[in-house]
Symmetry: C2
Subunit: 398 residues, 2 copies
Amino acid sequence: MNKTLKIALTGAVLLLLAGCGKLNFDNDSGSGSTSTKAGSFTTTGTNDSGTYQGIIQGGKYKTSQARGLTLTQNNQNGNTFNVRSMEDGLQTIAQGQFATDKYYFEEGQLLTTATTENWLARQKGKYSKKNDQDSFADNSLGLNPAKNKYNDSDANKRNPIYLQQILEQDYMVKNGSSFSLGGVAIALGMNSVDYFQKEKYGATYQTNISDSKLTSEGKAMAAKVIQRFRRMKKVGNNTPIIVGIYKQTKQDSLVGGTFVSYVVSKSGTNVSNWKSVDEQNEVLPVVNGNKAINSTVANDFSDFTNQIKSFFPTLAGITSQVHYKNGALAGMNITINTQFYGQTEINSFTQYVSTAASKYLPSGADINISIQSVQGMQAFVARKATEKSYYTHVFSSY
Amino acid sequence: MNKTLKIALTGAVLLLLAGCGKLNFDNDSGSGSTSTKAGSFTTTGTNDSGTYQGIIQGGKYKTSQARGLTLTQNNQNGNTFNVRSMEDGLQTIAQGQFATDKYYFEEGQLLTTATTENWLARQKGKYSKKNDQDSFADNSLGLNPAKNKYNDSDANKRNPIYLQQILEQDYMVKNGSSFSLGGVAIALGMNSVDYFQKEKYGATYQTNISDSKLTSEGKAMAAKVIQRFRRMKKVGNNTPIIVGIYKQTKQDSLVGGTFVSYVVSKSGTNVSNWKSVDEQNEVLPVVNGNKAINSTVANDFSDFTNQIKSFFPTLAGITSQVHYKNGALAGMNITINTQFYGQTEINSFTQYVSTAASKYLPSGADINISIQSVQGMQAFVARKATEKSYYTHVFSSY
C-alpha cells in the first residue's frame, strides 16, 4: 500500500465516524451531485496500477442514475451480458484518454433518470401511439426515430429502436482535497436486433440492424449527445468527452457485445476522427453448425474440454466466452458446471483443471475458469495474459 | 509444469482416446478397486507443493463409497459444513504423516457402502425396533450403542448416536507405473448433539454429548476400526492407519466442527499415543449475547464490517467463519452479501474491500473474502497467511 492510499484511508475512517446514520444511496442528486464539498472525499484504493480508484463522497459510493435505468427501459432487448461488457469496455476505452494514475472513477452523475428516459425514447410522430412503451409524450429529445407506418407490421420497413441504453462514466481529477470533473465517457448501446410485437401480447418479431446502419445511426446520435453534454455547466466547452458506439448482442446470447467505434471530443462540438474498434466475442463450443472465429482457439478449447470431461463424466457442461481484439485472442471466460460431493473431489478436480489449462489453453491471453455447482462457485483458476502460471483457489469451509 | 507432470499428462491423453464411452463412475468397485493395472494410472497434477496430487485410474476419478453415504445416512444430524470441514481437516492431519511429495491422494476405496452402513448402525438390542432408521437387522458390526429403554423418551438417559459419519482417505505410493496403498486416514464424525424424535413425525429433541464422552466413545471405536482395517488384505499389519476423532457442530451451525484428537497406528492393533488437536471454529459476528473466542479478532472484524458497510448501505450482511489453531487465529472465510447493479460498482467495491482488509483484518492468517450477490459470486479477495498483499479477482463478462 503506497502513501497516497494510506492518507486516503485515514480520511475514510474519520468520515466513517462522522457519517453514521447518513449512509443512504445518493440517487436523487441529479446533475448537481458532482459539487465538491471540501474534505468529504475519499477513494476506494486499488492494488493494481492499471485500474482506476473509485471516489467515495461523504462516506458513500455514488451510483449512476442512467445506469440503473438502462436495465429496465426495454426488457425485451435486455441481456445482462451486454450491460456488464459495455461498462467494462467503456472503461477500457477511457483508459486510453484518462490515465489511471491521474484520473479517478465515478459512476456517471450528469444524466438524470428523466433525461436518460427522454434521450432513449423515440421522437414523437404521426404514428406514435399513446402509452407506447418507447414513446414518451411530447418528446423532442428522443434519439430514436419516430415510428413509421410499417412499424407494427413489417420487420424490414419499420423504424427500429437503434439506441437501447446509454451509459455515462465520469473521470475525476483531484484538486487539493476534493475532486472535479476531468472527463466524461459515454457509451451508446445500439441494438443489432430490435425485438417487437405486431400486436400486444403477440409473437415477437425481430428487425435486424446492419453494422453499417448501426454505426451511422450511432455516429449521428453521438454528435447530438456531445452537443447536449457541452451545454451542461459541469462539462462546458473544454472537458474531454469520449463517445463509444457499442453493438449489443442478441437477447439469447451468452456473451455480451463489443464496441465498434469511438470518438474523443477534446473541446467544442465538432465531431470527427472516429476510431474503429476491432473486437469480437463468441461462445465456445459453437452451435448450430456455426463456424468459430478462430479454429486454433476452438480446437484448443475442445482439447481442454475433452481432457476435463474424461475426469468427471458428470460434468453438465463446459462453455467459454471468448474475446478477440485486433484479430488476436484477448481472453477466455470458461465456466465448468459440475456436480460435486466433497471437498477433496473439488481439490483434485481443480488441480486437474489447472494442469489441463496449462497444457491445452492458448498463452498470451487472460484465462478465467470458474468451476460451478448448483451450490455456487466451488473453485476458480485464472491466469493473466502476462503471467506464466495459473492461480488456483478452492472455496473451502471451516 | 515439471517433467513428471508432462509425462503423466501424456498418459492421460492416450487414456482418453482409449477410454471413450467408458467414463462412468466407479462406485461399485468396493474394496477390490485399488488393484494396480499397469499403465492405467495418471495424476491430477498440482501447482502447489503443499497439496497432494490425486490419482486418476483408467481415465476417471474414483469417488469414495463411504463418503457419499454419510451425507444421507441420518439427515436430521446433517450439516454440509461438517462434511467439507472434516474432509479438509483429515487431509491436514494426514499431511503430518504422509508427505505430499511422496504420497498421492485417492478417495477412500476400502469401505464399501454396505460396510459403512453396518458400521454406522446401532448394535441390535432388546429395545431395537423393526425398521429403525439407525438399526440394521442382525447388526453385530454397528459401532453405535443399542437403544436402551429410555431411548425414545428421555434425552439425558437414552443412548445417543455417537458416530454420525465415517470418512476414509487413501494415501498411495508410486511403484513404477502404478500405485499401491501407502496409508489410510479415517475420520470418525462424532455428534456433539444427537437429534431424535420421541414419536414418529413428532417434535425434535436433542441429546447433548460432552467433549469427554465424545472423545472416549471415539477412542473406543477407533480401536475397533483399526482392528477391522488390519484384517483387510490391502491394509494388512503394516500399512500406517490414522484415525481422527471429529466433533460435529450442531445442525444449525454456519461453520463446521473440528478434530479433537487423532492417533497413528503404524502397525498392529495396539492403539496408544493419542494426540489432541487444539482447534476451534466460530462464526462472527457472534449472536445471542455469546462471547467471541478472541475479542481482538472479533473487534478487527467489526471494524472491517463497519468500514465496508459505510460504502454500500444495501449490504445484506457480512459474516465470517473463523478458525483457530493452538489458540491462534488460523483463518477467516468472510462472505459479503450485497446487491449490485453494475460491473464498475463491483470493481470499485472490490478495491475498497481489499484496501479495508489490508487495514483492519489480522495478519498471519489465511483470509478469504467472497463477495456474493443473488446472481452468485461477484468478486473474490484473498491473502494467504504467508503473503503480504491481497489477491483480488472480479468475475467479469465479455
